[in-house]
């Protein structure tokens, strides 16, 4: 029992810790296809970002994008553009905008999910209602990872 309580407490602290200083989804403003200010105070961690990119319950980016940096992973998707050299094509502020709200940053017709939006959806399954796909920190981590994908 004590273990459960302690774990629950740790989780609570962990969650509030991660959210401290994080911009709320409704507060993020896309200006000229970019979000200049990071969503959190803590710099993104590219190693973690790589994990979120892969995680099927998280970014699951590989489901749609080829990424040579992950050549050892099976099943790269073909729905979105390959992400090799993505850092040469977009600035971190532009990548942030695309991840937060692809419909606003790229095109209203894009298939790409918006990873940091929690409203404006239709018939969201109860367990995901009012939630974002990634946390603010996870978005920053993924941006930090994408920034490492250079060809030039």
């Amino acid at each position: 029992m004590r273990i459960v309580v302690t774990t629950a407490l740790a989780l609570l602290i962990g969650v509030s810790g991660a959210n401290a200083g994080a911009m709320k989804p409704g507060e993020v403003k896309i200006v000229d296809g970019a979000v200049a200010t990071p969503l959190t105070d803590q710099a993104g961690d590219p190693e973690k970002g790589r994990q979120w990119f892969l995680g099927r319950k998280l970014g699951n980016c590989l489901a749609c994008h080829v990424n040579s940096d992950m050549a050892k992973e099976p099943y790269h998707g073909e729905v979105g553009p390959p992400l090799d050299g993505v850092a040469d094509r977009w600035t971190p502020a532009e990548l942030r905008a695309i991840l937060v709200n692809s419909k606003e940053a790229l095109s209203p017709d894009t298939i790409m999910p918006s990873f940091y939006r929690d409203s404006g959806f239709n018939r969201v399954a109860e367990q995901f209602a009012g939630k974002t796909i990634l946390t603010a920190q996870q978005v920053e981590d993924v941006i930090a990872y994408l920034t490492t994908l250079k060809e030039k």
Partner: protein, 281 residues
Amino acid sequence: MRKLLALGLVGGLLAVGAQGVMADENAELVIDGKTFVTKLKAPADSPFDEILSGWRFRTDETQALQLDDFENPAMISAQYGEELWNTADGADGKSCADCHGDASESMKGLRAQMPKWHEGKKTLFALEDHINWSREEHQKAKPWKWESQEMVAMTAYIGLQSRGMPVNVKIDGPAQEWWEKGKELYYTRVGQLDMACSHCHENNYGNMVRADHLSQGQINGFPVYRLKWQGMGSIHRRFKGCMDNIRATPYKRGSDEFTALELYLASRGQGLSVETPALRN
């Protein structure tokens, strides 16, 4: 040694993935010497250039399982359907066969026209609705649950009587309103992933999403035996799976929404051969 094994495993996985992409594009679906229409030129008002059965998007191995009725596990369900067809049920103690006789004659062509407007009930009927209506009306039997083994077997057996016939649903008259509702649903984004059917099955068919080869979402083979399910499933079960994947609250099986969507999808596959009961992965 362990490393070698792991490498071998990854290599194997990659090979499977690659096969998924490189299934023979010119393969034809031939069952008992009869060639099925799995590809046809789309009419001018279609969003597609070519209409393609889901069969064409499967791997060579999966395709092969549907070529031989002895290997197609969906046929076991259809056989159970035949048994049910001939078994008395309900307060009136009648079987389907007592009224409808030989299904290969009386049910021929029905699946190709479903879903269809029902004049008595003044609503659009999926095949499942038709079966339950007849059970209540003619047999005084309890309706089957949409996804029950019995219902899936009966839709497989009745569908089999139209196998090889072209999909030919009616979308005018009282069905038109349903068709339009289905079309609206098809293009409406839903779920946390915020996607409509069209994003994957119209704009991206032929592309891989992870290990899955996106098809046009044609429904001419249902009910199907799906390898992922290790069993049979209805069209509406497949719809639910898609909605779950994009983190949406699915409509209920048998709901007006799913039946409307079924009509709209069937209309996008007019002219494809009915493949019921098909096999997919």
